[in-house]
Each structure stands twice: as structure tokens, then as C-alpha cells.
């Protein structure tokens, strides 16, 4: 039974130095709760059954209207347990709020609906946060639009990303591999698609990645596909032909006639797609709202060409 409960509780990887500490405290609270819950419920069911009334029940019911010592005992007893839980939680929180000296800083921008990570040497990634294993990292986070929240389950850390101010978060990843990053503060249509990966590398690998220009040469089409996914174009524009309310599908788009909201009709050629990426408000497809962010200055010309190549390849 205990093993089963244990499995229900935390089958999660403990991929940061915080994770085992959080889980230990979680266990303490869990077992304290069970310890308080079981006697309460057992007493309720036992009293309910033992003293159940029967037809022609002539028992004299005693008049017991309270017990001072009992009340004080219960108050003190739960008070002490609650206080331990508070202090223990504060210790962990204290650690979370006081990063050690010499952390490695990474800039984070959360925006509708993608994550952007800026490294000190000018390197920028989207929806892929590369991290060195065993080195404390501090994220300095901001948002240009609405609230978001940076949440890595496997690290047990979370911090809201607030427009108009910087928030910070530090952790030390110590498990190689990929870990999910979620946006945990509701931010609109594609909130649940605002996903990213934390990719933990050995420190040498991380160094090589950081300095390397492009470790795996990709074809233009592969680059386009990658941008399309990491920039979360796919959150609103499906590549499978499924229509979402957020945006039209790009499958079979190239060279098709498109009806716009101003009543005109255009052919979706290279120019059309390019304009729609860098300044989407120019052409709004009929039946959709002008909600797509402009990518002007965010994508290089090469990137745009690659995305167009990718869209061209998605034939009906």
C-alpha cells in the first residue's frame, strides 16, 4: 500500500538539487496529513456505526458539551505540526531565493506563445534551453506582453514572468537529457502550447555547443521546419490540415487562392507568405482575428526563406 502511494506521489525525475529536498518535505507533509486524516475518519465511521440508532432505541444520550483540555491539546498538537511544515518550507524557499555567488546567467523572454533564451555571447535559442550539468544557473526573466510562468517540473521550480519587471530564478540541473518547460500562468489562446525543453549537457558539451556556430549542418528545409516548430508557428498554424480558431493551416497553402477579411482574394506566393510572417496585419485571412505577433526583425532573411521552403513542401 505504501509503495503504491509512493508511486502515485512522485514518479518524477529529480533533475535538480532542489528536487530531492522538495520531495522529502512533500513526503513529510503527506504522511503528517495521513496521520491526521485516518484517525479523524476512522473515529467518524466508528462512532457513526457503533452508536447508530435502532428502532425503539431507549438509550439515554449523555450530555457532553465540550472538554477544555481536549480542545487545547488538539490546537497545540496540530499547531506544532503546522509550524514544522512552515519552517521546513521556509528553509527551502530561502535557498530558492538566495542564489550562490557566481551563477551562470541566462536571459529569458516569455511571450505569447514562445520562450526565448539569450546567452551572454549573443547566442539566442527559441524553446530550447541548453544548460550545463552541475553548474548553478540563474535565469533573468521578462515578458513584453502578459504574465507567464516558467515551470520545470523535473527541477521543482517555478517563477512568474512579469511584464514591466525582471524576475529571477536559480537552480542547478544535475540530470542529463531533456526536461519539459511549461508556461504555468494563463496567457491566452495558445497557453497550453507555450512549451519548451530544458536540455542538460555535460559542461564540456555545453561549452562546445555555446561556441559552435552550427554543430549539425541542416538543409534549408530542415531549418525551416525547425523554426516553424521552435517559434511555435505550429501552435496556431497546423501542418496537418486541421483548422484551429487561432490561425489557418499551412498545409497546401502555397499557390492557393486565399480570401482575406477585407473581401479581396490573393494567391499565396512567396511574397504573400513573407509579408504574412514579418507583418501579419497586412493580410488577415477571412474568419480569423489579427492576433499573430509580427516577426519583423526577429527572423533573418535566411530564416524566412527557410520557412517558406518548408511551407512549400507541405503539399495537400
Amino acid at each position: 500500500m505504501l509503495e503504491f502511494l509512493q508511486r502515485l506521489k512522485f514518479p518524477l525525475p529529480q533533475a535538480s538539487t532542489f528536487a530531492p529536498k522538495v520531495d522529502l518535505l512533500y513526503d513529510f507533509i503527506f504522511y503528517s496529513s495521513v496521520f491526521l486524516f485516518i484517525p479523524t475518519i476512522v473515529a467518524m465511521i466508528y462512532f457513526g456505526w457503533k452508536y447508530r440508532t435502532k428502532p425503539n432505541d431507549n438509550r439515554e444520550v449523555p450530555y457532553i458539551d465540550g472538554h477544555h483540555t481536549f480542545e487545547w491539546f488538539i490546537s497545540a498538537f496540530v499547531g506544532v505540526i503546522f509550524f514544522i511544515i512552515f519552517v521546513w518550507g521556509l528553509i527551502g524557499f530561502n535557498e530558492l531565493h538566495n542564489p550562490p555567488a557566481g551563477t551562470y546567467e541566462i536571459g529569458v523572454v516569455g511571450k505569447q506563445w514562445m520562450w526565448e533564451f539569450n546567452y551572454s555571447n549573443g547566442k539566442t535559442t527559441r524553446n530550447e534551453l541548453y544548460l550545463p550539468k552541475g553548474i548553478p544557473v540563474k535565469l533573468v526573466m521578462s515578458s513584453p506582453d502578459v504574465l507567464h510562468s516558467f515551470y520545470v517540473v523535473n527541477f521543482r521550480v517555478k517563477q512568474d514572468v512579469v511584464p514591466g519587471m525582471y524576475t529571477t530564478l536559480w537552480f542547478q540541473a544535475d540530470q542529463l537529457g531533456e526536461h519539459d518547460i511549461f508556461c504555468a500562468e494563463y496567457c491566452g489562446t495558445a497557453h497550453s502550447n507555450m512549451l519548451a525543453k530544458a536540455i542538460v549537457l555535460e559542461p564540456e558539451q555545453f561549452k562546445a555547443w555555446l561556441q559552435g556556430s552550427d554543430p549539425n549542418q541542416l538543409t534549408q528545409l530542415e531549418i525551416g521546419k525547425k523554426i516553424f516548430n521552435t517559434r511555435n508557428c505550429v501552435a496556431c498554424h497546423s501542418v496537418t490540415g486541421v483548422q484551429t480558431q487561432a490561425g489557418p493551416t499551412v498545409k497546401g497553402l502555397f499557390n492557393r487562392k486565399v480570401n482575406l477579411s477585407d473581401g479581396t482574394q490573393v494567391v499565396a506566393n512567396e511574397d504573400y507568405i513573407r509579408t504574412s510572417i514579418i507583418n501579419p496585419a497586412t493580410h488577415v485571412v477571412k474568419g480569423f482575428r489579427p492576433i499573430m505577433p509580427a516577426f519583423q526583425g526577429l527572423l533573418s532573411e535566411n530564416d524566412i526563406s527557410a520557412v517558406i521552403a518548408y511551407i512549400k513542401s507541405l503539399k495537400e
Binding site: L25, D65, G66, F82, G89, G92, S192, A246
Partner: protein
Amino acid sequence: MSVANSDVNYINSPKGLWSWLVTIDHKRIGIMYLFTTLAFFALGGIFALLLRIEHLTPGRTIMDANQYNIAFTLHGAIMVFMFIVPNVPAAFGNFFLPIMIGAKDVAFPKINLLSYYVFWLGAILAVCAIIFGGVDTGWTFYTPYSIRTNTAVIFMASGAFIMGMSSILTGLNFIVTVHKLRAPGMTFFHLPLFIWGIYATAIIQVLATPVIGMTVALLIMERVFGIGFFDPALGGDPILFQHFFWFYSHPAVYIMIVPGMAIISEIIPAFSKKTIFGYKPIAYSSLAIAFASFIVWGHHMFTSGQSYLASLLFSVATIIIGVPTAIKIVNWVATMYKGKVSWETPMLYAMAFIFMFSIGGLTGLFHISLAVSVHLHDTYFVVAHFHYVMMGGTVMAMLGGLHYWWPKMFGVMYNECLGKIGAALMFIGFNMTFGSQFIMGNLGMPRRYYDYAERFQPLHQVSTVGSWFIAASFLLTMSYLIYSLFKGKKAPANPWDAKSLEWTIASPPPTENFLTDPVVTEPYPYGTPNKARSHA
């Protein structure tokens, strides 16, 4: 003590729809509130069922992302502002508060009727928000999203503002009524505990509700005139909004649960045939919760970016509020000791309340403990926690109260066997629906997610199937209750052999409640009545 039921009562005299619409009888206003809030409960419930169906599969099942965002917002806003806040105080409070203190009506009967129509005005605005495309901010209206989204935020916010005014009027009325209109012998410590709970709630309603009014007023000014209070693009502070919002909405959590606790404090002695254990601790704990509820709002904001010191203080304040809650639970269980316990439907709901509310309370411990709270914040763990409190707590208490007082309110008996089946279905369905959400939250499933990773699917499916049990239970309950109105057996004045004042008058009560002025000696005279009270 029993009184022959007369043919003239508050329901049939005077007759006609108009006489109901302009009534100043607290019982009729209570009944109108009851059916109004239950109708909104059904509406909010339909949105909940749609949300659960959407989660049967990852990706699209029946609706798209924007529709989902609107659905969860409307579910929350309707349930909070239009059902759970007004339901118990305005429906059961209105009906029973004057009777239980031996009064003929509330202190200000016309203000009481006004509060009902003000509530409707707010509700109509909220319904307008639904008609004009819905709202997609979440019931919390967090800025700056609520400033920027082009959905009907202003309608819903104005609705919340106006329904808040109704809530203040009700609270004020109840405070004055309790102070001024008690029957001879009804000292404060002879008040039934239901009254203590409603009184504590009324204090919170009067003191906290103006803050939500101001907050949504600022929000509306920012949206309409572009004055920068909360949006940093206009020079505002989004976290300030969260402080304002929770300064009301945390006390509001206790506006929702304290009346539920108050009902349980009536049902347990009545179905144990024994005086309440720890009258004063329960009464004082209601007041303690009411006052402490004002200093804990920041525990909703541990990851918001508020200062470390603020988080520390809000965390320690929150453990204080846990103690009176624990006291109440222990005293209810102790009341059953050596009683004559009968397992009728109201008692089943009361026991379900103790079971589920205990889980709801204990899982609160995970959220006051800062380090764990950071991990669980904004996941399904929170969703499960507050549903165990709000639904496992307040709604179970409401259902218990509805069955307990049904014979008194309408003078008919419901079908006891169907009642038990309904309670059992509810218990199973509720724990399936929300128990599975604790596990999902642990695994890191964030809340308000339209789409989810495939590994969560089995748990989501358990939750969805559970919601169908809940729906079945409600349909069954509403069916036999409505059936009983037309074909139910006539109820005697005191079918449960309970001892508080409302059971000394006819079912349904006459318009003036009491034919002769009642005299009160003590609130729960079971066992050996009139024996000197040793404690309390």
C-alpha cells in the same frame, strides 16, 4: 413541541406571481435566491462537464482553444459570483436566520428584497458577457491579459461589481438582525451555530466585498479610458492587481466555506441526537477564521514576484487559520460520540463533508509550505485542493442542508432511498473527478491547459468519467426533490426530532413564523436538557 400544520403558510398566502416578486418575506426571498442560485449552479456545471469532455483526449475533442478558455472562465465566474457566494447565506441564511433566532423577519425586509434584484442586475450583466462572446481571462481577471483581451471583460467585471453590492446588503442585514432581533433568552451563546457561521460570514461580506468593487472599477477604467493602473505598458503594476484581487478573494473563500461549516454544525447534533461538542470553540473559530482571513491573501502569490518577506509572513499567517479549522472538524466528530446516530441523507452529506473537507484542508498544508508550494502552484493540485474545499465542502453542506430543511421549507418529504443513492453517487463521482487531479498536479500538469501531454490522458479520463457520476447524482437529486414538491408525502413539523427553533413551528412555516413569541434556554437541548452547562 410539535405544532399542527395549518393550511395557511408563507407559500400559499398571499397567492400569485406578483405577490412573490414584491414580497418582503425573508422566507420567500430565500426561496427565490435558492432557485436562482441553483439555476446558475446548473449553468456553471454544464460548463464544467464540457471542460471535462474536452479533456477526454489531448488536443481537440469538442472545442478549440479559445472556446476552452471561455468555458473555464465562465465555469469559475458563474460558480463563484453567482452560485457559491450567494447560495448558502442568501438562500438558507435568509430563510432560517430569522426563524432560528426567533424573529419574524430580518431587520430590513425591503433592503433584503433590494439585494435580490441588485443580484439579478449583476447576473444579467454577467449573462450579457456570455451572450457577447464570453470572457477568456479566468475568473481571476489577472492583468495585463484582462486589459488586452478583446472579450467581454467589462460586462463580467461590472456584473461582479454589482453582485458584490448585493452581497454587502445581505451581510449588513444579517449583522443587524442578529444584534437586534433575537428572541427572549437567546443570548449570543444561545445562538445556534448556523447563526454564528452566517454572522461571521456577514462580517467578511461587509468588510471585504468593497475591495473587489474598487478593483474591478479600476480594471474597467483602465480598459475604457486607458488609465495605467495595472498594465506596465501604461505605467501600471500587474502584481498590484493581484494584491487587490486576493485581498477580497481570499476572504471570499471563507464567505464560501464558513456557511457550509455552519450547516454541518446543525446537521451533526440533529442526527446524533446529542448536544454539540465544543459549542464555544466552534463559535469562536468562525470568528477567528473571519478575522484571520484578511491577513493571508498573499499565499496566492508565492511565485508572483512579491517579496521574500511578504511570502514568509503570508505563509506563517496561513498556518494560524488552519488551527480553528481543525478544531471544528474534531468537535463535529466528537459530537457523534455516544449519540444516537441515524444515517439519513443529510447526515450522509455531513459525513461526506467531513471526509472531503478534511482532505481539502490537509492538502492546504502543501500550499502553505513555501518550497512545496512553488512546485504545486498553478497545477491541477491546486484545482483539486480548492474543489475539495468548495465542492467537497460547501456543496456537500449545501446538499445536506437542502435535504435537512427541505421538509421545513416546502412541507413535503423527499424520497429517502433515492436520497441515499444520490449521496453515494456524489461521493464516488467527486472523489474520482478530483482525486485523480491531485495526482496529475503532482506530476506537473498545469491548470488552464487546453492541450496536455499524452502521459496525463488516463488520469484525465478517470476525472471525466467521475464528472458524469456527479452529473447523474445532481439529476437524480433534482428529479426526486422536484417530484416531492408535487407528490411528496406531507412533512410533519419536526420530521428529524431536532431541537432548534425552526422545528417548533409548522412545515411550511406560517408567514409570521411564530404564533407565540418563543423563549429560548439553550441551542441544542438533547440528552439531559436544562442540566447546567459544565463547559462552553
